[in-house]
Amino acid sequence: MDKPFVLLVDDNPDDVALMQRVFSRAGVLARDEVVVARDGVQALDFLFATGEHAGREATLLPRVVFLDLKMPRVDGLEVLRRLRADERTKLVPVVVLTSSDEDHDLAQSYRLGANSYIRKPEDSTEFSEAVGTLGRYWFRLNRTPVESA
């Protein structure tokens, strides 16, 4: 895999399915342009080419990471912390996409270097619009130094 892609980190299969549906229906991202991690461990293994992803070309980084916060094993804030602590992944854009509107989560995400914080809308119509917009913006429009690497 050497073409651009996004990393979607979310433990809720419904959310993953709904988001992928929106991406493909809106024509923003094809199925094979979305890499899914079911929790923090999988996400970190993928990013640093360890564990089940050992041997992956680690220099290939996603254009954006959509990151859920509350997940089993390693949570989203920890993933964010490790991402920002490593030279290789320091500049990868991270969009926190969560159901939480706790002040603590919001503040801590930005403190750890999140590029954006989006609360998943309850209403599915709004949710679809938001996800479509996010994909279009971060994958199509936004430019980062990471992809040149």
Binding site: N12, L18, S100, E102, K120, E122, D123, F127
Partner: protein, 539 residues
């Protein structure tokens, strides 16, 4: 009873210092009165003494004059042989004899003063002097000068006896005409000699009395000086002692009071005496001890209270943590399935609507409506829980500006509604701005909702004086409610309208009440069915 340290115990004169203060002052006064009485007594005694000496000097004068008169009369009688001259002699010689009689009685162990006074009377001494002359004789006979004077007097009396013998011889000789002229001449020569001896004795007597008077004067002066010095010294020493003692006691009391006032409740003032100051000091010490005990009690209670506060705070923190964890999990875990339900319902409607008939599509829309209501409930519950947990930061809040902003926002959501907002100017209060906004949003939101069925509505924010308190109010002319259910208004999930009439979760007013309570205030509502509602709150 409390034992006082440093009691200045058994000291000489302690009894004196223990006397009450008025008695101490009286004592000093008494000493000075005593000085005056003593000096007057000594002065009077001295005057009496000197008066006695003067009486003796006078007596001696009379004695000498009479003796000379006797000599003269006797000599004359020897020449004239006239009986009158002899009588004159007898008359004169009676004076020394009278004095002698008094002297002889006085030297007795227990003299009879009638005889003494009679003797002095015959000596032609003034009756007023008789008493002091007798006293002086008895009291001072052992004094050198007086003893010598009495010795001279005794000697003179013996010489007088010789003269008497010559007188008797002459008288007998003349009366019986048995005396010869040469014998008369010889007697006169002898009497002349006797007179010379007497003159010498009289001089000695006068001189000795003079000595005695000077001695008495010296003695009196010394006694008076000594007494004056002694009493004045005693009075001064006592006065100084008492005043120094009082000063020390009062200074100790003053210093002690200053220390106690500065908070040193363990300080005890030494009790130096049993007088008023001493008793005051003891009372002060007892008071200090009571204060110390009370302070100890208060500190103990405070410590217990603090401990209780620490425990309660810990419990509260634990409860808050639990609530926080609960809210966190609610906001993540309860919302996710709802998104699934709503999301897949939407997917069905969007992608499979041609395979569903109208009823099937209706059901799906009901599913979506249900999940949205559920999402709203979760949202409201989380808000309520956040209101309970968040810390209050009171600052100055412009209620008028806040209300106008909320009104504008409401108007924007439904631009075709005709609602008049009447918001009083200059409403400013001290409150947490975030919580106050949430509260006002709820109240205005309710008014906005419950006036929906009226073509024209009015929503008001103002302030009024309610029983001395400044109460703010939000008033509308909407559906109102039945006051019979007013007690249910602020309970979570309690609704006074059906979902068909007005949608809602029943958490809004519970949140309003929670916010007001967190500010230490009160909130209440007044309404009538279709008569509008007014909510008052005091912050």
């Amino acid at each position: 009873m409390t034992a006082y340290p440093e009691r200045m115990g058994a000291r000489p004169l302690h009894w004196l210092l223990s006397l009450p203060i008025p008695i101490k002052v009286n004592l000093v006064v008494a000493i000075f009165v005593l000085i005056i009485v003593a000096l007057i007594s000594i002065g009077y005694g001295g005057m009496e003494l000197l008066s006695g000496v003067r009486a003796y000097v006078g007596g001696e004068g009379l004695w000498s004059k009479s003796q000379k008169q006797a000599l003269y009369s006797l000599t004359k009688y020897a020449r004239s042989r006239d009986e009158a001259d002899y009588q004159s002699y007898l008359h004169a010689i009676a004076v020394p004899l009278g004095d002698k009689k008094a002297r002889l009685e006085l030297v007795k162990q227990d003299p009879e003063y009638g005889i003494v006074y009679r003797g002095f009377g015959e000596g032609r001494n003034h009756p007023d002097d008789h008493w002091i002359m007798s006293r002086l004789f008895k009291w001072f006979i052992d004094v050198q000068y007086f003893r010598r004077a009495v010795t001279i007097w005794t000697e003179a009396d013996e010489v007088i006896s010789e003269m008497l013998a010559r007188g008797d011889e002459l008288r007998t000789g003349i009366v019986t005409a048995s005396i010869t002229a040469p014998r008369i001449e010889q007697i006169l020569v002898e009497v002349e000699a006797i007179d010379k001896r007497l003159t010498r004795l009289e001089d000695d007597f006068s001189f000795t009395l003079g000595e005695a008077a000077r001695w008495a004067k010296g003695l009196l002066t010394k006694v008076m000086l000594a007494a004056a010095v002694a009493f004045v010294a005693l009075g001064t020493v006592l006065g100084l002692m008492i005043s120094k003692h009082l000063r020390t006691e009062l200074a100790a009391l003053g210093d002690g009071a200053v220390r106690v006032a500065a908070g040193d409740l363990d300080h005890r003032i030494p009790v130096a005496s049993r007088d008023e100051v001493g008793r005051l000091t003891e009372t002060f010490n007892a008071m200090t001890a009571n204060l110390a005990a009370s302070r100890g009690e208060i500190r103990k209670l405070n410590a217990e209270l603090e401990q209780r506060v620490i425990e309660r705070t810990a419990q509260l923190e634990a409860a808050n943590k639990e609530l926080e964890a609960f809210s966190y999990s609610v906001s993540h875990d309860l919302r996710a399935p709802l998104r699934g339900i709503d999301g897949f319902s939407l997917a069905l409607l969007e992608e499979y609507s041609e395979k569903l008939d109208e009823t099937g599509q209706h059901y799906l829309r009901r599913v979506r409506a249900g999940s949205r209501h559920m999402a709203q409930l979760i949202e409201d519950l989380l808000n309520l829980s956040r209101v309970s947990r968040s810390e209050i930061h009171r600052v100055r809040v412009d209620l008028t500006a806040l209300a106008r902003a909320i009104a504008t926002e409401l108007q924007r959501t439904q631009p075709d509604r005709r609602v008049t907002f009447v918001i009083a100017d200059g409403l400013v209060t001290e409150a947490d701005p975030g919580l106050l906004r949430a509260m006002l949003e709820n109240l205005f939101g309710n008014s906005w909702k419950f006036t929906r069925k009226h073509a024209e509505a009015r929503i008001e924010l103002g302030a009024s004086d309610r029983g001395g308190e400044r109460a703010y109010f939000v008033r509308d002319d909407g559906a109102g409610f039945d006051m019979a259910y007013a007690d249910k208004l602020f309970r979570p999930f309690q609704r006074l309208h059906t979902m068909e009439d007005f949608e809602g979760t029943g958490i809004g007013l519970a949140t309003v009440q929670r916010i007001v309570l967190r500010h230490g205030g009160r909130v209440w509502g007044e309404a009538a069915i279709e008569g509008g509602a007014t909510f008052y709150f005091v912050l």
